[in-house]
Amino acid sequence: MAVFWMMDYLALALILVCAGLVVRLRNLNGAVMALSGVGAFSALLFVVLGAPDDAHSEIVVGAIALPVLYLVAIGKARAEVHDSGELDEQPRTRP
């Protein structure tokens, strides 16, 4: 029983950390990766809580489909950015 509670609290803590990263990161693509991490950890939490069917749909939707949707939306919204330092991204060295 102790393993159940330990994995429960660890998965909850990791979900909270990833969700905080989604809010706090200024690099938008990095925030989307943290959102995918939220999906993966919540799928693990569903397995620990005894709902593997929800874990299936959470992996497909929360870890893959929703971040890809966000990436497409972000890529279409800001196709041209002149000052990439504002977005906290690395400068592009090679063409």
Partner: protein, 127 residues
């Protein structure tokens, strides 16, 4: 006896997974981190899965799923690592300052030089 083998294999797997995670945390640039990531998969996941197979017996549902997961990880993870490294190189992620060789850039340079020489020879024959 079986428990000892399971614990030993799992400790090997956990040790390699931990060292791979520390490598991902501490390595200086992206390409070294990708190498540490594949080390985690190959040497960290496989002993743990073999530990599960040994512990539950080969003819059980756990062992079959563990072997299938091992096959999937061995097949798919190098492909994803390669795709990621290629995309990162193409999109211009900088290398570590201490890196000594960039063989992709050298090969591209040689290819362009050869093409330039061929074009010059072709134009010379036309004259």
């Amino acid at each position: 006896m079986k428990a000892v083998i399971v614990i030993a294999l799992a400790c090997v797997g956990l040790g390699f997974s931990l060292s791979g995670a520390v490598g991902i945390l501490r390595m200086p640039d992206l390409y070294c981190r990708i190498q540490c990531s594949s080390k985690t998969t190959t040497m960290g996941a496989l002993p743990a899965l073999i530990a599960l197979v040994v512990g539950e017996g080969v003819l059980s549902s756990y062992a079959s799923r563990a072997l299938l997961t091992a096959f999937l990880l061995l097949l798919l993870n190098p492909a994803s690592s390669h795709a990621l490294a290629r995309a990162a190189y193409k999109s211009g992620v900088p290398m570590w300052d201490g890196a000594v060789r960039d063989e992709a850039a050298e090969a591209r340079h040689r290819r362009e030089q050869r093409r330039r020489e061929r074009r010059r020879d072709g134009s010379g024959q036309e004259d």
